[in-house]
C-alpha cells in the first residue's frame, strides 16, 4: 500500500477526464463533487478541480491542467473534519490529516526551500468546495468510505493452538497433580483428629502443613465439618 498523498494522472481517454479506477478489484465511484479547490499543507489553494470519492480513495483532478491530480487512500487519512471557522482557515473546507511514513521531520523544511514538493510528506490537505453547503454531505461520505476501509487484518495465528512457552510460574499451576496429592494428605488424616490426643505422631505432620500452607485453612474447616458429621 502506498502511504500518504501521491500524484494521480490516470484519466480515462474518452475526453471525460474521469479517473481510471481499479474496478476489477472492486473500486467503486461513490461521489463526484465538481468545483473543489485543494490546498496541500501550508501551501496556497490550487486552481479548481473535481473531487472523486471512491470506495478506496480520494482523487482530486485539476480542471485546468490535465496532467495534474492527487490521490490518497482512505487508509492513509487519519482524520477528517468540517472546518468553518474563518479564523483558522479563510474558507470553509474539509480538513484532512494524512498519515505519512516516519522519519520525515528533518527533511520537511528542505523540501519547502528547494521548492520541490514531495507529496508523500504532505500531512494536511484541505478541500474547499465552492458550494460550502456541501460540506456536511462530503463529511458524511468521507465517514462512510473510511468505514469501508478498515485496517488490513494482520496475519495472526488463530486464537487456539498457540504454542506458548510456559514459565516456571505457570508450570506450578498446570502441575496440578502435585497439588492434589497435598490435598489427599491433608484430608486423609481428618479422621485422626478425634484420636490425636493419643497419637501425636500422626497429628504432628498436619500441624506442619498448616504452618506451611495457607490452603490448609480451608481443609481444616472441612475437616471439622466432616468430623462433626462423623460423631
Amino acid at each position: 500500500m502506498v502511504v500518504g498523498l501521491r500524484d494521480f494522472t490516470q484519466r480515462a481517454g474518452d475526453g471525460s477526464g474521469k479517473p481510471i479506477l481499479d474496478e476489477s478489484n472492486g473500486e467503486e465511484l461513490m461521489h463526484v463533487q465538481s468545483s473543489v479547490a485543494v490546498a496541500l499543507g501550508n501551501r496556497t489553494v490550487e486552481s479548481p478541480g473535481t473531487l472523486y470519492i471512491t470506495s478506496r480513495k480520494l482523487i482530486w483532478l485539476s480542471d485546468v491542467d490535465m496532467a495534474k491530480g492527487y490521490a490518497v487512500d482512505f487508509l492513509s487519512i487519519s482524520l477528517h473534519a468540517v472546518s468553518r471557522d474563518p479564523e483558522t482557515y479563510s474558507s470553509p473546507c474539509i480538513y484532512t490529516q494524512i498519515d505519512v511514513e516516519e522519519d520525515e521531520d528533518e527533511d520537511e523544511s528542505d523540501t519547502e526551500s528547494t521548492g520541490v514538493l514531495d507529496l508523500s510528506k504532505i500531512r494536511e490537505m484541505r478541500l474547499v468546495p465552492s458550494d460550502s453547503s456541501q460540506l456536511d454531505t462530503l463529511f458524511d461520505i468521507f465517514c462512510e468510505c473510511a468505514e469501508l476501509n478498515p485496517e488490513p487484518i494482520e496475519e495472526e495465528e488463530e486464537e487456539s493452538g498457540h504454542n506458548w512457552v510456559f514459565s516456571a510460574d505457570q508450570m506450578d499451576v498446570s502441575g496440578g497433580g502435585e497439588e492434589d496429592a497435598d490435598w489427599q494428605i491433608s484430608q486423609s488424616p481428618t479422621s485422626v483428629i478425634g484420636h490425636s490426643n493419643g497419637e501425636e505422631g500422626l497429628a504432628q505432620p498436619m500441624l506442619e502443613l498448616q504452618i506451611n500452607d495457607q490452603r490448609f485453612e480451608d481443609a481444616e474447616e472441612m475437616a471439622h465439618e466432616s468430623g462433626t458429621k462423623d460423631h
Binding site: 487519519s78 482524520l79 473534519a81 465517514c143 473510511a146
Partner: protein
C-alpha cells in the same frame, strides 16, 4: 466487541482522544463503529500551539488505528461492569 459496546454507551459524553501523532482532541463522543473509528462533535484541540488551525472544527472523524489513548470521563467508567465484561470476553475469546 467489549470496547465497541463500551464506547457506544459513552456516546454523548466528553472525551479526549490522543492520537499517535501527539494531537489531542477534546469533544463530545458522537458515535463509534466496530473498528473503533471515532466521531466527535464540538471539538477543540488541546495543544493549540501545535495545531493552531485545528482550533475549532465542529465535527471530526478519527480513524481508529491512529488513536493512542482516549481519556474517559470518570463517571463514564463502571469498574465492576467492566471487570465482568472483560471476564466474559476472555472466556469467549
Amino acid at each position: 466487541m467489549l470496547f465497541f459496546s463500551y464506547f457506544k454507551d459513552l456516546v454523548g459524553q466528553e472525551v479526549t482522544v490522543e492520537l499517535k501523532n501527539d494531537l489531542a482532541i477534546r469533544g463530545t463522543l458522537h458515535s463509534v463503529d466496530q473498528y473503533l473509528n471515532i466521531k466527535l462533535e464540538n471539538t477543540r484541540v488541546v495543544d493549540q500551539d501545535k495545531y493552531p488551525h485545528m482550533l475549532s472544527v465542529r465535527n471530526c472523524f478519527i480513524r481508529g488505528s491512529v488513536v493512542r489513548y482516549v481519556q474517559l470521563p470518570p463517571d463514564g467508567v463502571d469498574v465492576d461492569l467492566l471487570h465482568d465484561a472483560a471476564r466474559r470476553e476472555a472466556r469467549g475469546g
